[in-house]
């Protein structure tokens, strides 16, 4: 797993050119649009598309505009955020195992949401709000630790330790909970896409665009940073500033995603790695490609949960589907990639 650390041996075929970048990103955008289309068209309710578009106030129209489109948009936002942040963090921490949750964000968010559910905070969208607060608090803690020792490993280790600590506190809270509350906590922790109001989606979308914009803007410096701090500094990269900016943008993006959908695992690990196997490690291409690919992947996984409803009489959390689909696919592609024919 040394993909991240070998940017100098990039074969000609995966070199960055504007034409190639447009082609790749165009293709992924088309895939994302197909996924969104499927998400809008498929579900338990038989939506008559023409009637829905002609009369938005009809039952079909309300399902289309009130359920399908907001949920598809939510899936795209969360998927894009997790995959792009995952890609940036893997490069920044020079660790292929880094995922968006590794910096304590998952622990902080889960702790916040569990507290909210345990205290019965139904008002003010308690779980989402406290999840965001918890994620930002954890991120601040981890960034402070990373600043104290100017090494990417300090942040990584603090994040891992904080996640373990948060898991222990959550387990403690769980033992104090009644079974019905426990079910809610477990469902939340597994990560699922629900129905958010347009205003929430607008705020969340704005936050994600800003954060992903920062990541993309920093992507060239991120490439140089993967050579090592000293090498990057000698090439004129402001190492500390770049690292702080990328950590901040990625963590804010993930905190927003977690607040909206809970802990949807695997997207931030699998999608960037799959794309790296295909496109090479250039972050200028990987970050936008991961955003589009992550959006498509999560939206399609969500379509799958809806397709499973007639079978289970329940929608499994989308995090389960991403792991079940993504895990085997990833192992297969990884092995194929390491033994080229």
């Amino acid at each position: 797993m040394t993909t991240v650390a070998r940017p100098l041996r990039v074969p000609l075929a995966v070199r960055f050119t504007p034409a190639r970048a447009s082609l790749v990103l165009g293709g992924l955008l088309a895939l994302a649009i197909v996924a969104l289309g499927a998400s809008v068209l498929l579900g338990e309710y038989p939506v008559h598309l023409l009637r829905a578009l002609a009369e938005p106030a009809s039952a079909d129209g309300r399902v289309l505009f009130g359920l399908r489109i907001p949920r598809a948009v939510l899936g795209a936002l969360v998927g894009a955020s997790l995959a792009a942040s995952g890609s940036a963090l893997q490069a920044l921490l020079r660790n292929p195992l880094a995922d968006p949750f590794v910096l304590g964000v998952s622990g902080g968010a889960a702790l916040g949401a569990t507290l909210a559910l345990a205290l019965g905070l139904q008002a003010l969208a308690g779980p989402s709000l406290l999840a965001f607060v918890g994620a930002v608090a954890a991120m601040t803690l981890v960034l402070a630790a990373g600043r104290a020792r100017s090494s990417p490993y300090a942040a990584l280790l603090t994040g891992v330790v904080f996640n373990a600590f948060a898991a222990a506190v959550i387990t403690c809270i769980k033992t104090l909970l009644t079974p019905d509350r426990l079910g809610e906590v477990l469902t939340w922790l597994a990560g699922s896409l629900g129905y958010e109001r347009p205003r929430t989606l607008l705020v969340g979308g704005g936050l994600q665009l800003l954060a992903l914009g920062v990541l993309w803007a920093e992507s060239a410096r991120l490439n140089l940073l993967s050579l090592g701090d000293d090498e990057a500094a000698s090439l004129g990269v402001p190492v500390r500033r770049t690292r702080a900016l990328v950590l901040l943008a990625a963590s804010l993006s993930v905190a927003g995603a977690v607040a909206l959908a809970g802990l949807v695992g695997f997207v931030g690990l699998i999608v960037p790695h799959l794309l790296r196997l295909w496109l090479g490690p250039d972050q200028r291409l990987l970050i936008p490609a991961s955003a589009l690919g992550g959006a498509a992947f999560l939206v399609l996984a969500d379509v799958a949960t809806r397709m499973l409803f007639p079978l289970f009489h329940a929608e499994p959390p989308v995090g389960v589907v991403t792991a079940v689909l993504g895990g085997p696919l990833f192992v297969w592609l990884l092995n194929r990639g390491e033994h080229p024919a």
Binding site: G66, L67, Q122, G183, E184, F309, A314
Partner: protein, 277 residues
């Protein structure tokens, strides 16, 4: 941070909706398409004689009357689309933080939703009245409510003549989950002349300390566990081995609904086998 959490908790508590609440448009005309999101609510509709109006139920529903109806998901995770696809003119749901967004969305999409808490016996009685009223069967709802109230009064009266029995009601052995205070099971135990030895617990369904259970010296242990896993180990413990072990009679005592009255009578006979009819 802690102050913020506390103020949030207070706000949350202040917004407690109470046992009954309507969401969405007011139900109009005769309601013919009713969806229930919990088996207990299905029981209420069936007891009102309105089972023919049900068009969808939860995936946990087991009554033969609704075996052929479509399933719309569970209590925590109802599928909004599956519910809306049935074009309900009323959705009956138990409120909870897990399903809050889902039922609000149903209401926003135009389905009238009646939220009914079923935590206590009073809640169940209020739910029977409210459901009867909204389904245009107020007399039947009132009769169900009166029947449960009368059964409670009668059993309480009879229990006064009996010596109080120390009881532990067990929902599961691994871990040990029992009936704590604040729920309908605890209320019915009290009605039937029992002292719930787990009344010091934190919630209606606590994971209880095994040692505390030993020390509380229950005279009767009511076994309501789904599986026997762990039962033999608990049953062999000193202080619990000497108690009288009994299976909870039927399901009537376990689900908050119109059958609670029957469950209460069975519970009384079980706890006081010597009591005359």
């Amino acid at each position: 941070m802690i102050a913020a959490l506390l103020s949030l908790a207070l706000l949350g508590a202040g917004a407690d909706p109470g046992p009954l609440r309507m969401l969405g448009p007011a139900p109009r005309g005769e309601l013919r398409r009713v969806v229930t999101l919990a088996p207990s609510l299905t029981e209420v509709v069936l007891a009102l004689g309105a089972g023919d109006r049900l068009v969808g139920v939860s995936r946990f529903d087991e009554r033969p009357e609704v075996a052929r109806l479509p399933r719309v998901g569970g209590y925590v995770d109802p599928s909004v689309e599956a519910v809306m696809a049935l074009h309900p003119d009323l959705v009956l749901a138990q409120p909870g933080p897990g399903n809050r967004r889902a039922v609000e969305t149903m209401a926003e999409l135009g389905a009238p939703v009646l939220l009914l808490s079923l935590g206590t016996v009073e809640d169940v009685i209020a739910a029977e009245r409210a459901t009867g009223k909204v389904l245009g069967r107020p007399a039947q709802g009132e009769a169900l409510a009166r029947e449960l109230e009368a059964t409670r009064a009668r059993i309480r009266q009879r229990a006064r003549a009996e010596r109080p029995v120390r009881v532990l009601l067990v929902y599961g052995f691994e871990p040990l989950v029992v009936a704590g205070p604040g729920g309908f099971a605890d209320e019915l135990l009290t009605d039937a002349g029992a002292v719930n030895v787990a009344r010091d617990a934190a919630s209606p369904y606590p994971v209880y300390s095994v040692e505390r259970a030993l020390r509380s010296r229950p005279e009767v242990i009511l076994d309501a566990a789904d599986t026997p896993a762990g039962r033999d180990r608990i049953r062999a413990l000193p202080g619990l081995a000497e108690a009288r072990w009994a299976q909870v009679p039927g399901q009537a005592l376990l689900h908050p609904g119109p059958a609670l009255g029957r469950g209460l009578e069975q519970l009384f006979s079980l706890l006081h086998p010597g009591a005359g009819r």
